[in-house]
């Protein structure tokens, strides 16, 4: 007889079989599997109160992606493309971003043990800066007028490029460059566009998205027009000096290289005030906790003639969780109605 065991083996549960990933039970092997794809699209939710009666309009809730925005798709495709081309080998990443691409890149880079430096325009909310730092990224806040000569309002982009291309840093950095990298367009051409087409059973007639990096506009616009050339693509542009993070006014910022103007049928300019007013309406009337760029897109969408527009899909790039500092003035005493 051996040494008596202190454990009553009859009562020890057998080790459980390891759980494997099972998307039907929403069980995943890795957070990256949650990034939207044709098999796992982000939801389309109908707008019932903030658009004219009779209009069939939906927002595509891109903030249901795991890192919280439409940029999860972009970041995944950017990194995959760089890896395939051998650009990542042993290098650090540097990228200019108003926050969401940085957050998605930082999460993916952290998973892969890659260091990331983010140059970020001044005025980006503190919430995003802290998220980036929580994910381990090095953050360089950049005034837009950094180059005293060029004054291009694109200081963050110029700084990221200088970090990547300076002779002293040779071979150290790789820059995804979401503004010029065709993989940004491909992300939306291969996922967002087909999702919208399939989710609307091919009935979509108008697509609305913002001028930002223009990856969504170009990729989705191109895909949808290939399915049906009659689909109208509407771009939303903020005014100069706006406070709508993620959106770009193409007079004060350079048009991104990946913008294909031939897919844009119409540009709607939106002021900050109606954009924020619509953001608050989306919170209060639709129960949608969205960021300010969604407010701008929904405002533009609601101004369309509903018979001409047909079924409308607008992009909701991110949620309102990161914008407390932007919304504070909307809910101050006396401003809450």
């Amino acid at each position: 007889m051996g040494v008596p065991s202190l454990i009553d083996r009859t009562r020890v549960a057998k080790p459980r079989r390891k759980l494997s990933a099972d998307p039907y039970r929403r069980r995943y092997g890795d957070v990256r599997e949650l990034i939207a794809s044709r098999q796992n699209p982000t939801p389309l939710v109908r707008l019932n109160h903030v658009v004219p009666g009779g209009m069939e309009a939906y927002l595509k809730l891109e903030w249901m992606n795991p890192f919280g925005s439409v940029k999860d798709r972009t970041a995944r495709f950017l990194l995959e493309g760089m890896r395939e081309r051998g650009e990542l080998d042993g290098r650090e990443l540097v990228e200019a971003t108003s926050g969401n691409t940085g957050i998605a890149l930082a999460a993916l880079a952290a998973l892969e043990g890659i260091r990331l430096t983010v140059t970020i325009p001044s005025g980006v909310p503190e919430e995003k800066l802290v998220l980036l730092k929580m994910l381990g990224a090095t953050v360089m806040p950049t005034p837009d007028e950094l180059c005293p000569i060029d004054n291009p309002r694109d200081g963050a982009i110029a700084l990221a490029r200088a970090i990547a291309e300076s002779p002293r840093n040779r071979g150290r950095y790789a820059m995804p460059n979401q503004y010029a990298n065709p993989d940004n367009v491909r992300a939306h051409y291969e996922t967002t566009g087909p999702e919208i087409w399939e989710q609307t059973d091919g009935r979509v007639r108008t697509f609305v998205a913002g001028y930002g990096t223009c990856g969504t506009l170009t990729g989705v616009g191109r895909f949808l027009k290939e399915q049906n050339p009659g689909i109208r693509v509407v771009a939303v542009e903020p005014q100069t000096g706006h406070r709508l993070p993620g959106l770009k006014n193409l007079e004060e910022a350079k048009a991104p290289a990946i913008l294909d103007p031939s897919v844009v049928d119409e540009v709607i300019r939106v002021d900050d005030e109606p954009a924020y007013a619509m953001t608050r309406r989306l919170f209060r009337e639709e129960g949608l906790i969205v960021g300010p760029s969604t407010g701008a897109i929904a405002h533009a969408l609601a101004t369309l003639d509903h018979e001409e527009a047909g079924l409308v899909v607008g992009i909701s790039p991110d949620s309102g969780q990161k914008y407390a500092s932007y919304f504070a003035s909307l809910v101050e005493e006396g401003a809450s109605r």
Binding site: M140, T142, L146, C147, P148, I149, G155, A158, L159, R161, A162, I163, E165, S166, P167, R168, N169
Partner: protein
């Protein structure tokens, strides 16, 4: 010719615009009033950038010289 003495030095050799301007802006923040920063650059654009930076940030550009492909600047932070 008086000899300029720097309280701090910044090496921006091998860095492209706007990195030298960015790093200089950061370094100026750490200077006390009246202190002098010496910056060495190799990006020819800095010959235009630094006078503009000085105007923008209220600094005195004591000297700007180029020799052997290197630009050397002396900037003094004035009292606020």
């Amino acid at each position: 010719m008086s000899v300029l003495v720097a309280d701090r030095e910044l090496d921006c050799k091998g860095l492209l615009c706007p990195l030298p301007v960015y790093q200089t802006s950061q370094a100026i923040g750490k200077l006390g009033p009246g202190q002098v920063l010496k910056v060495e650059c190799t990006d020819p654009g800095s010959l235009e950038d630094f006078p503009a930076l000085a105007r923008q940030r209220g600094l005195t550009l004591l000297s700007a010289e180029e020799r052997d492909g290197m630009q050397v600047f002396y900037l003094r932070k004035e009292a606020a």
